[in-house]
Assembly symmetry: C6
Homo-oligomer: 190 residues x 6
């Protein structure tokens, strides 16, 4: 369980939390930017809601560059962004990777590395609000199982967090985020 904790921060790689028939699982997003023309590519067999979620995250980041370490005005015109969700053959959907995707985009554009010992779930709006999502209990149990000891959940899911079993929650540092600014203070290393 300590395996993940010790991992060094990485650029563009963020641990999300997903919820499937067999329980909560870790859902990693990987972002890479290459010289390009402002295109956003999405791979990993994503459904339409998840694709829209990435578009929402990108608009939120575009609209708030001034508040961050992304100075170059042309950053979105001269780069292509590719977000990939391994494992490629597994279909993925839903809005709950919103803050995970937002974090990956900010990391690759700003050069700030992301902590690998923390995982997160939450829908994002184009104004940076963090909306509640489903499967909180299962997701946190799943994160605990793979050694995660710190998670970020939407503030409006605070009631659902009461359902997390004691033997899991006692090991966990749980943060509640109302807006992406709350997320941002936690996920970037150093």
């Amino acid at each position: 369980p300590e395996k993940l904790r010790e991992k060094a921060p990485k650029l563009g790689v963020v641990n999300g939390l997903a919820w499937t028939a067999v329980g909560g699982v870790s859902l990693e997003v990987q972002g890479v930017s290459t010289p390009g023309k402002g295109k956003l590519s999405l791979t990993g067999t994503l459904g339409n809601v998840m694709k829209e979620s990435a578009a929402v995250a990108l608009t939120y980041v575009k609209a708030t560059t001034a508040e961050r370490g992304i100075e170059d005005e042309k950053v979105f015109e001269n780069k292509d962004i590719h977000l990939h969700f391994p494992e490629g053959a597994t279909p993925k959907d839903g809005p709950s990777a919103g803050i995970t995707i937002t974090t990956a985009i900010i990391s690759i554009l700003s050069g700030k590395e992301v902590r690998q010992d923390i995982a997160m779930t939450g829908e994002i709006t184009i104004r940076g609000e963090v909306l509640p999502v489903g499967g909180i209990k299962e997701k946190v149990i799943g994160a605990h199982r793979v050694g995660i000891r710190e998670v970020i959940l939407p503030a409006d899911n605070e009631a659902d967090a009461a359902d997390i079993p004691k033997e899991v929650s006692k090991d966990m540092k749980i943060h509640f985020a109302k807006s992406y600014e709350d997320v941002e203070k936690l996920v970037f290393a150093g």
Copy 2:
């Protein structure tokens, strides 16, 4: 019920009213503009009628810029507009968000903030007429439930407003709009 009333005006965020199987609900639209090439993006799992409604609203705003605080001729060529309807996983359709969308577009392009203590419903035409929509009673009851005390309805729905229960209507300030100009006088702050 006072929660919404006290909210400060916001840029690009407008409270619409929707009508689902479980009654009337609040349907927020969020608009953001970024440097771009005149593209209109729509997210939030929207149906075709709602997408067309946004195109109609945009044309109406384009055709009436001279009458408003949108002076820059190139505003539509040099900006992308992204309209998002949280919650991303909930399908939404129908023409009744027309005046809501119109208000969001005008707000983000003109910089005028929108009152958050008012909600609205009504189809828009490219000439700015406000057409009647369904579910008036349910929508107003739903707005009342979340603390809204002022609503804008289409003038041609005036008869339907008689069905709103007294215990709701007595708390409510109800405006009837024939054209978007009637809406415009009410929704922008200050």
Copy 3:
């Protein structure tokens, strides 16, 4: 019934006639042009035949600009045309709005206002011929019901006009058009 007659002429707004399961209804088209790149937008939940009909009307107008008050050669390159058919949620199809659409396009490009006390139906070809359509009796009865007292029908529907009940036809001025030139002489105000 005098309501419509008194309406002042409008730019880009034309009264068509449609024919549904419940009888003839008025089908308004609204045209607006904005600065653009020659794009034709169509909204109002239109079927493919109706979309093609608009493309045919546009080509006819493009090919005959010299004969009209549209002098600027670049008019089609520098403008976007948006044709909207309220009510957005009602599906519409068929070729019979051809002359209605043609009139809307000419009005917004030439600045000539359209009479609102007249309604019309008829398929258009790219050469400006007016072809016969279905539902003549129902359409004229429907127009009469909403106060219209003057209609334009295709010349090849003259036989169908005999089926219009006397109590309707006695109030009506009925014109028969072989080509769009016959329509043009009637629909523009002043």
Copy 4:
């Protein structure tokens, strides 16, 4: 029956022959060119085979401009071509309008008028060969019924022409074409 014979030649309008459940019918194609960028538009509820047929005809004309009165090299880059098949609501398909479409394209690009007292059917290849088509008997009977007295058929349909009833064929001048060059000598006026 003399009605069609007397019609004056027209630019871009060609009489084809089609074959439906109720017998042979006349299938007119109308071509118009407008200033543009080399786009080919097709309207009239056409199936894919018929759309491809138009693309084949256009390539054949492009590849043989030198042999005709189409001198301007840029003709295909600076014009849009719109081919319309009235009546817009009737679905049409099949390759047999190939030579009809070819004739319409050559007429609008060269300015040569097309005889209206002649009708034709035949598949075209990009090399200008005329291939056999179905429904020869029905098509010629249909043409006769609407007053056509001269038709062009594919050379490889010569055997099928024997099935045309005497009372029709005795009134008819029937031409057989092996290549489009055979068609071309017949269809243009003057």
Copy 5:
């Protein structure tokens, strides 16, 4: 049967072999190039495998221009290539026209004429390998029936050639090709 043998070589026209429910048939491809922008058009009601086959053939030719009489570097940028498979209404699919298509492309780009007394079948790879295909016996019998006396088959179909009846094979010159270079030595005239 001597009819085809005597035919003069042609530019861009190549005899392929296809295999249908009723036996082997001749499948002609016709290639034409026109001034353009490097677009590849395909007509003749082709399935996806056949469309991909044409893309593979084009890449192979692009990658090997230096080895052939195609000198102009810009040839692919300044020309459109249109490949048509008469008869337009008959659906066609499969990879076995690969070497036929390759030959048509090389002919129209290099100006070298193709022998009309030879027919061929074989899948092509982007590296010019000739892969085995189905229906060898039926295809060769079909070619024999229309007077073809010389065919090119994939080398890996040599075993299948043993199934060709003696009364056919005794009249036939059969070539086996491992790579397109083997085909190229045979198909171009003089």
Copy 6:
């Protein structure tokens, strides 16, 4: 079985391993680059997962050019890449050709030849990680059958390799790769 071993290294051709109902089979990818505009073409009847896999591989290569013999910054803008999977009529899908495709792209862009006596399977991420895939036993048996004596498998499939029968594994050199860098050391000749 020595046939493959003796084959000389080739540019852009890589031996993958696939797994079908009838056992493991060799799945070759062929890459060719031509002058172009940065387009990636994929042929061979590929499913969506496999197409995304190629997009992932391309982004990984784009993001790591500095670490390789690909010096020209404009390489991706001025070239088209075409990846073809013979045999064109056989549908192919899944993420397991990831490292095979990556190798083909690097080979054609760097000019480094690929060993033909080695085969590989493994999903790739845009960060170059090699993820486990299915059918390991069947794939290695299939490779052995066609004479392959050296294979690269994902490190996370090491347990599955225990299922490979002794009479196969004793002939085989099996490499396990955690990241593409492990693959890269093995596949390029010289």
